[in-house]
Subunit: 282 residues, 4 copies
């Protein structure tokens, strides 16, 4: 017997811009949206029966239509409107809406922000994922591609050595990463913009301010502090590549290199991923 | 109480080439390897205690060293050697080795293959993932970025319509995708090269030869046939973007377009993912 | 005084597929087209006067429309039809049409090619550039992203050494590149498909068959042979990154490495570019 | 007769980080460098004679070594040191050093900048190109990948219409671009950081503040103003894709779309490139 296992379908890479033409100045929401549905779709696979299949083109249209009236504030609110719209179809058990928000700042003109001209920024990409089921809605938020560097207070030592180990121990290395973090809120009802900004600030501040004996420990220290300071958060998952910066060997040229010149590499890289969460007793 | 949840760490993007200098002609294995470990690593996060942390640099070195003697045949055999090496450490509960194999063909010189010169091909990338635990080893194989197109025998109709539905029904569309498929073998002991080639041929042949009422149904038809023809396979997971090709509207120019000219798009795209597996009764 | 210097404008990344539904089986032309115009457009810059500006949207429409009737054979013929269409506008001094052709092969079903299903290949991308002026039309053709590797008959020695030189001389290294070559035909009137295939075969064959004392010399040897064998070609320009493959140091692990295991890198890379052409006396 | 035409060679993608460990706080220079040489290298092509070929590996080493002492301030000064080093070799007629500078900001910790932790920004990439010949040195500077958007004061009308024209005229569209600009200084002796910042501010301000009848006119208006305000600049070259944002058609859903919801696209795109320079009479 052959059967269908886990499955989902949807529309990805729906890229749209919502312009709010306020009198005081324009505001823009620039988002890339992905929508995925799970539910009673087995017969579309096994029998070619599309009678319950909401077309992915319809999902795209819905994203455009909802952008008109429901994309004014936080990404999470727009995502929730979409997810709850789709989960209202009886054949849908779970609707997941993932949004990447592209950051724009008003251009500075002689010390004041332009009212209708923008430059795209790039300190990471804000992400939001809303998952709606008939039983309720879960909101996750986070940041992707946040590139960070510590030039001090990072080391790696005390690890076991075997035949294949050549890495020297160090108590002073560069630590560079392209951080991805996504955290889950205990309730979908919150001021998502304010909360996001506060958690992002915590993340950056703790990254800057801690001593790192390993990338693993950094994840723990940052994640724990996010949970301590932000009671809205139930769990945070982080993925950190370790983008190695090797001290350039300048001795052939008769030069010392006292933590001055580093070869920047992206491959190969370490890759550390972990979840930090509230335990049972919370 | 705050605690550590799921976690793993390792080295990614280890790119190496193994040259086999046979008398009859050179052969090359060109691979990108990722290694990830799970196990007794909690204290590296919570206490900065690296005493059980196999350095990711050591993983990289091991991949190079093993390439000398264990990367002669199938990617899966090399991956298994690495995975079983790492799971032998007492602190490791699971070692996962993922390999991407880059395809090279001997260059044709006057009708004969060159003995030491190669051109890189591109009909998808072969992938293999070997996961070793103290209880045993699981081998998965597959293909990624396999770009396929059907110019006939593909339609999409019978789907529900709501306020946001504008897509017309069609019994004749282009179906284009960048297919990813990965299948799990029931046993790790097999001729992985031969089996891979046979399954890949089935996949392509069924893609070419079936009538598609939807991408969902195509996944089912292809997956079911792989399971039917290849008893080594327990389950196959496929992810298919639907890379829409829209009929160009040539009527403003006084031209008909009878399935001749299509606008090729990548965004937005449908995205369908499903697993087809042997059921309980098998 | 401030003035306008060199300028051109056009439409890029027009991606379309032309399906030829022949009785014996379908054929497809999958192309990405860029069109650029030079001419009497100065006032569009300096005065905001668009009265001579052929809209880039019109260029796109023209590419779709011409795909119906003029994209049956060689890319070069389609490019020429477009370029000569645009240069016929009196304000246009030069129309340049650049085309990338994406390669598809009929899928093999039980030993025979499928009639309407295709798999995308990847031994480089065919490119064509047609430039039309009132005085005549020039056709260039070539190949991009052709990834090649020699496992023997490649060295690099005899170079000067200074304070900053650490590279050892070698008479046996891997030579890997992602070759780009574009050649100019003496006349636009030729069987462009046949000629392209022949030149590409020469390029590959000479790459496989020559001894390389440097990437520079390889460019010369390949380019010279293309000119010798193909009198249609007036000049060929090649750009070759030197994608270094370093012998992995296995001595810490007690292993020899006799040209067996290489670390594959993409950055930093050498980059060599040169033109080989017929001289004045030809 | 077959001969060598234009040629150059060098090393690209040399990525290094220079850390300045000042007492008040660390500063970092994160650069990707490319070096290319032209000169008396013909025999390396035609005869395989490497006796004058400065190895690209030596170029890389030199970039690392010079990073220690000459990469403290502006990219342009480091580039000039490298370019003038290489042009001092008698076989070199021109040394070109191109640098991309990656922008980092000190992380904010409780209102103050961290002394040794950084976040990578992304409002475009600063670029510098220094070209040295025995006759003198030329410095160019610029910005790449600067993504800009105007939500008002942009239109496109008055263009000619032919059989293939369907684009409506508009006096109100979104104008989005990924701008690349590079300008040439009249003299290499200048405070390159200060000058860069001032020109970049002009570019952004004029972009924000002008009325655009076309991308062509925007290039002219911005370029002219850079030349007017910054006498150090002799010429500026700009390349602007027109990243179309199409008004989403919401009428099928019974909704108006009064400049509110736009479909964001990257392909196909317009592409406009032009140079604005000081004329003969300046």
């Amino acid at each position: 017997m052959i059967e269908l296992g886990a499955n989902r379908y949807g529309k990805a890479a729906i890229h749209l811009v919502r312009v709010h033409r306020d009198r005081a100045g324009h505001r823009i929401s620039d988002v890339t949206v992905a929508i995925a549905l799970e539910g009673d779709f087995e017969r579309s696979y096994t029998d070619g029966d599309n009678s319950l299949v909401i077309a992915t083109d319809t999902m795209k249209n819905t994203a455009y239509a909802f952008a008109k009236d429901r994309l004014a504030g936080a990404l999470e609110d727009y995502g929730r409107a979409l997810a709850e719209h789709f989960v209202a179809f009886r054949q849908v058990d779970r609707a997941t809406v993932s949004i990447r928000g592209h950051d724009w700042a008003a251009i500075d003109v002689a010390g004041a922000p332009a009212r209708d001209a923008f430059v795209r920024g790039g300190e990471g990409t804000r992400v939001a994922t809303v998952s709606a089921t008939p039983g309720g809605t879960t909101v996750q938020a986070g940041v992707d591609d946040l590139v960070l560097l510590k030039t001090a207070r990072s080391g790696f030592s005390g690890f076991p050595r075997d035949r294949y180990t050549t890495l020297p121990e160090t108590d002073d290395r560069l630590m560079a990463t392209r951080l991805s973090a996504i955290w889950r809120y205990g309730s979908p009802d919150l001021d998502a913009d304010l909360t996001f900004a506060a958690i992002r600030a915590t993340l950056l501040e703790v990254f800057a301010d801690h001593d790192s004996p390993s990338v693993q420990a950094s994840i723990w220290i940052i994640g724990r502090e996010i949970l301590r300071r932000h009671e809205e958060v139930d769990e945070v998952r982080m993925v950190l590549p370790n983008l190695h910066h090797w001290l350039a060997d300048l001795t052939p040229f008769g030069l010392a290199n006292d933590g001055e010149v580093y070869v920047s590499t992206t491959e190969p890289h370490g890759l550390i991923e972990a979840t930090v969460r509230r335990g049972e007793d919370t």
